[in-house]
């Protein structure tokens, strides 16, 4: 047994889970900040970003060391590559959360307007995608990851609906253009978070099954099942 190597893999997994927890928390807090028009929550998301960035660098460094020092192969190599890519996606989830609270801070400065967009529903779907993508990583289960991929279309449709309705609102009531534009950008940010969750799920399938299912190519069910 390569004890030190396998401890290194476990350490990498633990770090990524910490990163995942922070990214998931950032999205949830960003939505709460929108829902409650809460400036303190906005600041909490902004302050959390540096921790996410710091973890991202540490994970990349640890993965780089493992590749250089341990020459991983097969499932271990796929795991490390998946961790590096998921790490990057989680950092981007953190960035999108920051983008959302920046829009929220702008909205807080403006009068409240009732807009034709269901941000809570969209945030709930997006947050569920991130959570399930991370669960699929924790469990090492491709079928959980596959379910995340299937949720992406739903969020895409919500984003399209938001776009149509908010543009119409801007045309009908130009005085609320700024608020509508903020909401539109928040919808777009949430849709991007869903895309990152999709990427994470694809990376989990790559790790577990060795199948590249990006861009709707490759069927994971045809590959040999391998798990650590």
């Amino acid at each position: 047994m390569r004890t030190k190597f396998h401890q290194g893999l476990e350490d990498l997994r633990d770090r990524l889970l910490r990163m995942g927890g922070l990214a998931e928390q950032a999205v949830d807090r960003a939505f709460e900040a929108y829902r409650d028009r809460d400036l303190a929550k906005c600041h909490s998301v902004l302050e959390g970003e540096s921790k996410i960035n710091e973890l991202e660098r540490g994970i990349d460094e640890a993965a780089f060391d493992l590749i250089a020092m341990q020459q991983p192969t097969a499932v271990d190599l796929r795991f490390i590559l998946a961790v590096v890519k998921i790490n990057s996606d989680l950092e981007r989830v953190g960035d999108q959360s920051v983008n959302i609270v920046e829009r929220v801070m702008d909205m807080i400065d403006l009068p409240f307007v009732d807009l034709p967009v269901d941000i809570p529903r969209m945030a709930s779907a997006t947050s569920a995608m991130v959570r399930r993508a991370l669960e699929s990583f924790i469990e090492g289960k491709a079928e959980l990851a596959q379910a995340v991929l299937e949720m992406d279309n739903v969020v895409d449709r919500m984003r399209d609906e938001a776009f149509i309705n908010l543009v119409r609102k801007m045309n009908e009531t130009p005085s609320v253009t700024q608020q509508a534009l903020d909401a539109l950008l928040i919808a777009r940010n949430l849709e991007r978070v869903a895309d990152h969750a999709t990427n994470i799920a694809e990376d989990v399938i790559f790790w577990v099954k060795g199948a590249d299912v990006r861009h709707n190519v490759g069927d994971p069910s045809t590959d040999a099942e391998t798990q650590t």
């Binding site: 192969t73 097969a74 271990d76 796929r78 391998t226």
Partner: protein, 253 residues
Amino acid sequence: MGVGITVENLNAWFGKHHALHDVSMIADANKCTAIIGPSGCGKSTFIRCLNRMHEVIPEARATGSVRVGEVDIYNGTSAVQVRRRVGMVFQRPNPFPSMTVFDNVAAGLKLNGIAPGKKELEELVERALRGAALWDEVKDTMKKKSGASLSGGQQQRLCIARTMAVEPEVVLMDEPCSALDPISTGKIEELIFQLKEKFTIVIVTHNMQQAARVAEFTGFFLMGRLIEFDRTEKVFTKPSDKRTEDYITGRFG
């Protein structure tokens, strides 16, 4: 040019010990095939069956079919003829210590009953030494220095030159770099890439990174059985068998 090797239902014994069980595989012509597996898995026994070296051990025997090109080496051909076509490089370089570098290479020809004229012999030795990437290092001293005076890496390349001199079609290598430092290992690996143009190569190695670097195909042996045989990149990134995965990821062995 190299020829392919087709192995079908190969079994090998040492006395009552059944060392290889029904091994079947194909080593493609002018490609390098790596054989990996834990100690005692039968990989050295396997390649020694490919040029009938296995049978030189008392009470050792083999059954099944090994075809080098179209010739079944266990049926109607002599072991000497087989070894002329299927050369072998061993784990520890074994030049003849009392012979010069030149004579070491020439000995390969003489031992195989090839007796060229002086000029032709010089040409054959030079070609073999160039082919083994040793010429530049020994051309001025090869008729004075003994083979044993060379460094370990040079000695191994000398043994490769000796093997190449008789122009075999297949070269078997049994852990050829296990006694060498990383620089010498790098030279041998570089050499393997060049040798593939002329020969078919089958290499046994404990160094999995080496297998990944030099071989197009890799076979994983465990307890005398060929567990998995596939393209090297497949074996090292997405092996089909859990036992292969456990071995190459260091979970056992």
